[in-house]
């Protein structure tokens, strides 16, 4: 590099070839040793640039469904085992064929499972310990796997997070005002939560604001707002309803089995439970609604065991308190017993009775 002409003149074949290819031009370079090193380093470590375009953000609500690798590893492992065992069998057969041809007695078939059985028979204690622990492991892991059937929230399983027909952003609508969100109360849209068993899916409520708001904060948002218009039959140009409705088929996220009764009204209006206690930080970090709590019976009754009943203010417990205080005067000790831990829990008022929820 520093003295190309010398190399050409010295008769180096590669240098001569290059010299010929590039129209016999080979300028002397004014390069220091460091610069030569740097150029060589670059050439050695050159990686062709990856074509750009793969850095698109994944659309909200469509998590990339990555299939786990381990089932394939198991299959490959099984195939390898089968191949190995078969090859062993083939080898024995060939050996036997040779021995037979030579007039010798065939060796005993000790391939695969049979060899394994013999080995296990020779080391009975070892084999039974291994076998028993294997069975125990299978039972325990099977038990824990069975505990996750029908559970789509909580800490142990992946939360159920279906893609909805309209990608509604809970954080934007209900999030805190100081984070540039709209801070709409949950019950503005889910207004039947304090009156009914169901929290309610807003039907015409979207249009209370979206008659005036046709533009989202992004193009994607605007596209979702157009879906509301298509569903309720609203013409944003003429600002009028067309009458052509196409109801939205929301995907239900929280599914309680029919044999368990649950009422939102009881928990919201009487129990004064905040939405977030069961539904998680839906207004802070759930752009897409997901099932946060496990909704298992253990989860229900754990809360019923710990929660302090908020007696004041809703009138629901007035009659109960009157009776308990009257009983106190008659010498019953239930109120005193309830208040030993300085609170009256749901369980103490019958929150653990089977028929409270199962009837």
């Amino acid at each position: 590099m520093r003295n190309s002409q010398t190399v050409v003149k010295s008769g180096n074949a590669y240098a001569k070839k290059l010299y010929g290819e590039w129209n016999q031009i080979m300028t002397p370079q004014a390069l220091t040793n460091e610069e030569v090193d740097a150029v060589l380093y670059y050439v050695d470590n050159f990686v062709p640039p990856v074509p750009k375009g793969g850095d698109q953000p994944t659309p909200v609500g469509a998590p990339a469904a990555e299939a786990p690798m381990w089932p394939w590893l198991i299959v490959v492992g099984l195939l390898l085992a089968v191949v190995t065992l078969s090859l062993g069998g083939v080898r024995t057969s060939l050996t036997n064929a040779v021995r037979e041809a030579e007039g010798q007695q065939a060796i005993r078939d000790r391939t695969g499972l049979k060899r394994f059985y013999d080995l296990a028979g020779d080391n009975k204690i070892f084999a039974s310990v291994i076998g028993l622990s294997l069975v125990a492991w299978l039972l325990v892991s099977g038990w824990y796997w069975a505990l996750t059937i029908g559970v789509y929230g909580g800490d142990t399983v992946e939360h159920y997070r279906p893609e909805q027909p309209i990608l509604f952003n809970h954080t934007l609508h209900a999030g805190k005002a100081d984070k540039n969100n709209l801070a709409i109360n949950c019950q503005y849209c889910h207004s039947s939560a304090e009156k009914s068993k169901h929290a309610g899916i807003p039907a015409p409520t979207c249009m209370n604001c979206h008659k005036a708001v046709a533009q989202g904060r992004s193009d994607a948002g605007t596209k979702e707002i157009q879906k509301i218009y298509a569903a309720v039959g609203w013409d944003p140009e003429k600002l009028a309803y067309t009458g052509k409705e196409d109801p939205i088929e929301w995907v239900k996220v929280h599914n309680l089995p029919d044999h368990a009764f649950f009422s939102h009204a009881q928990h919201v209006a009487v129990g004064k439970v905040e939405c977030q206690e069961c539904h998680g930080p839906i207004d802070e970090k759930m752009d897409v609604a997901e099932q946060w709590a496990p909704l298992t019976m253990g989860w229900c009754i754990q809360c019923h065991n710990e929660k302090d009943v908020k007696m004041a203010g809703n009138g629901y417990y007035d009659e109960l308190m009157v009776r308990m205080e009257a009983n106190e005067k008659l010498g019953h000790r239930e109120l005193k017993e309830y208040l030993e831990d300085e609170k009256i829990t749901v369980k103490e008022l019958g929150g653990w009775e089977c028929a409270k929820c199962h009837y």
């Binding site: 469904a65 089932p71 997070r161 709409i184 503005y188 207004s191 169901h198 005036a212 599914n255």
Partner: protein
């Protein structure tokens, strides 16, 4: 070695089972679906079995049974509670500018202006009005400030003397394009409670301004006319 096909088959079956659960819209497998899904009608219940497991045709057939329906046109919510008899009437004023003016002249609240009703109204105001109208009714809620929504007039300025009939009318039918109807979210009693709290805000956070009327005189002429014709029709 005769076990081979069987064991490979089992491994494949287990694998398919696990990969089938990767579908994000499928709620997955459940114990005893016949105990999970109610044979009686329930609102918002998906009557289709999981199509990812049971197949589309069954799910579609089951989904065709409707669960959420609108009430019959003209239905008036009715309470047998005697203390709520003022609310058991059809709202007589039409959704027109004339109806708005007439409601402002004639319609009076059946609910007294007391600290208790104002407090109850405040709870409802916080849930249903505050995000636009702001905490004190100045029109500075988060939807307006963060959402660039058109600003509602302030209760202490432009709407200072808005009569309660007009407030109620706006709650029933909405006002302009910016404010929608809240009749679907609030029943009549709640609307009147909010109206009381709005009046409380109009008055600068003080009671008074009380157009408290005894319950009997609350049936305004238009309502009375409707009810008399209804009784006559019987």
């Amino acid at each position: 070695m005769r076990m081979q096909p069987l064991s490979i088959g089992t491994a494949l079956a287990v694998m398919t089972l696990f990969t089938a659960c990767g579908e994000p819209n499928s709620p997955g497998i459940e114990y005893m679906p016949d105990m999970y899904r109610s044979p009686s009608m329930e609102a918002y219940l998906d009557y289709g079995q999981d199509p990812f497991i049971f197949g589309d045709s069954l799910a579609v057939a089951q989904r065709e049974r409707q669960s959420a329906r609108l009430p019959v046109v003209g239905t008036v919510p009715f309470s047998w509670d005697p203390s709520k008899k003022e609310f058991n009437f059809h709202y007589p004023y039409p959704a027109t500018p004339e109806g708005y003016e007439q409601a402002g002249l004639e319609l009076k609240s059946p609910i007294a202006m007391t600290q208790e009703t104002v407090d109850r109204g405040k709870v409802i105001y916080t849930k249903f009005c505050m995000h636009c109208h702001g905490e004190k009714g100045a029109g500075d809620g988060a939807v307006v400030t963060n959402g660039k929504y058109s600003q509602p007039p302030s209760y202490t300025a432009a709407l200072k003397d808005l009569p309660e009939g007009k407030i109620f009318h706006s709650l029933v039918y909405g006002k302009n394009v910016a404010m929608g109807s809240h009749a679907g979210q609030l029943d009549k009693e709640e609307r009147w409670l909010v109206t009381r709290y709005v009046q409380y805000l109009q008055n600068g956070g003080k009671l008074g301004r009380a157009t408290t009327t005894p319950a009997d005189s609350t049936i305004v002429p238009a309502v009375a006319a409707v009810t008399t014709t209804a009784t006559a029709a019987k």
